[in-house]
Amino acid sequence: MKLYEYKAKEVFAKYNIPVPKSVVVLEADEFKGEELDFPVVIKSQVLVGGRGKAGGIKFADDLNEARERIDVMLNSTIKGCKVKKVLVEEKLDIEKEIYIGITLDRSASAPLLLASAEGGVEIETVPEEKLFKKHITPFLGIQPFILRNLSAKLRLSKEEGKKISKIVSALYALFDREDAELVEINPLVITSQGEVIAADAKLIIDNDALFRHPEYEGLDEDLTPLEKRAKQKGIAFIQLDGDIGVIANGAGLTMATLDNLSFHGGKGGVFLDLGGTDDPEKVKEAILLMKDAEPSVILLNIFGGITKCDTVAIGVKDAIEIGKIDIPVVARIKGLNEEKAKKILRNAGIVAVDTIEQAVKEAITLGGR
């Protein structure tokens, strides 16, 4: 779960990481101008990178200018994301910009602390030799020597090193205790007055850990209404650019089916992983979700190992009847009780074929968009 900047900064503040004085505004005239000192920065709250270049960050020297710009921003779309909130912050007097991030190094199975004296740019563009990198052993966390080495690498003054060390320790505590997948401060600003302040904040919380963080529940996320519904039902559902809805059991198989579709000139419109279930209720939910995504055709690819093909087929049949679905369905179903399953599907008017290639070709023909 990716948090909006203003929300991430609330969490940062809980860990005593300094953030700029700010207000969140949903409508331009909510902003009174008394809360903050001018000049201010007006930042669109969207979950895409590079919003600055896309016009999602503006400055204002007085209330009028601020309101005007807030208004424009609230009616704009940044890289496809509608701006629903803006964050208005006091503008910082920037002396230096630093990058600090903690992410996961999958290859090493360890958190990776990254820092650079070149903040404010994408970390991927910083040359390797200018990066401070250290894998963190989960049980040990941030030991003093790591902070010492970080300060040395970034050539921080003693005073800067002290403040930034505190922030890095706090950031790791946050990463650890909030079950974060990623935390990033880019830039971490050192002001002309020597203050160190997180000018931006990126925070992704592990969805699988939300059960122990009820405070994040119900937070605004960058999901389509259907994706939101799927999430509530526990179904892996992703809307894509194309028109063919793909349902398969298992993430790998679903991906492979989408890939196959594309080799034959088709284009997936929905990724829907049924998972290892043959629970007719869940199958029904999935089909109804798919219906509401309005694909031109539904391509069903089931490999029944533990899952019984006929049970899945019954679920599909029922869902089509209940949901009065008139979108054509093509099924390739293989494995446990496949013959039974094919019969059930064919009786329900579904094209049931033997190989994935046949199914893909059929779907493309039937979809015909």
Partner: protein, 287 residues
């Protein structure tokens, strides 16, 4: 010979009295796996399909001299179950459970590395050595004894490929599902190394997907191998930034694309199939 699980496996099922536990205990028994016990706290003394249930791993291992454990408990209890297993005398731990918080997985895998315990998973279908033992939830019927070693990050997709290999008249030495999470105990390289040293394995099939760089690392290792490797990578048309069902299947910041993986594997000399169905044909053509 096979790898990881075989006739010498002495298996404990953690969470044996749950819905999944009862079902798969039977399936593993039927596969002639040596299931020596199960653990469910508070249910010690009961039995499941004749398998004795213990209250704790310590007790279970003491009584049964188990060397392997499989975890089939809900995600929020999985870390505790894993630590309990690793503090008993278990050498191989297969974690089936999905949706384990990633910080929990980090703790589990870090501790496992320290204690030199081989963890498979989490979020994986387990390990099968046909004719010897199954420690997992893979469908039993698709397997057949043979010489193809299979290692995969996927579940059903692997079953498809296994099934296709079997229907093609070939069989498997061992089939390992590594798991679909970003943090897993056993990597492609680990599995390739084991297969490389296994006399029963003549060919190796690697089933990868988008996300991470485990396939690229595997490619480096494949360069040094003599056994032929056949690969398939899922997610070639997946959009960046989206998790494709598996927590680990995501192209992020331009990294972890199927293209990069396919290219690396090809360069390393592996035969990369365009679609999974092609794998058996590629094997018989080459070998």
């Amino acid at each position: 010979m096979a790898i990881l699980v075989d006739q010498n496996t002495r298996l404990i099922i953690q969470g044996i009295t749950g819905h999944q536990g009862i079902f798969h205990a039977k399936a593993m028994l039927d596969f002639s796996t040596n299931v020596v016990g199960g653990v469910t706290p508070g249910k010690g003394g009961e039995n499941v399909h004749g398998i004795p249930v213990f209250n704790s791993m310590e007790e279970a291992v003491e009584q049964t001299h188990a060397n392997t454990s499989i975890i089939l408990v809900p995600a929020r209890f999985a870390k505790d179950a894993a630590f309990e297993a690793m503090d008993s005398n278990i050498k191989i731990l297969v974690i089936i459970t999905e949706h384990i918080p990633f910080h929990d997985a980090l703790d589990i895998i870090t501790y496992a590395k320290f204690k030199k315990i081989r963890v498979i998973g989490p979020n994986c279908p387990g390990v099968v050595s046909p004719g010897k033992a199954k420690v997992g939830i893979m469908p039993s019927k698709i397997f057949r004894e043979g010489n193809v070693g299979i290692v995969s990050r996927s579940g059903t997709l692997t079953y498809e490929i296994v099934n296709a290999i079997t229907e093609h008249g070939l069989g498997q030495s061992t089939c390992i599902g590594l798991g679909g999470d970003p943090i897993i105990g056993t990597s492609f390289v680990d599995a390739l190394q084991m297969f490389d040293g296994d006399d029963d394995t003549k060919e190796i099939v690697l089933v990868g997907e988008i996300g991470g760089s485990a396939e690229e690392e595997a490619a480096e290792y494949i360069k040094e191998m003599n056994k032929p490797v056949f690969a398939y990578i899922a997610g070639q048309t997946a959009p960046p930034g989206k998790r494709m069902g598996h927590a680990g299947a995501i192209v992020s910041r331009g990294k972890g694309t199927a293209q990069s993986k396919i290219e690396a594997l090809r360069k390393a000399g592996a035969d990369v199939a365009k679609v999974p169905e092609d794998i058996p044909k590629l094997i018989t053509e080459k070998c």
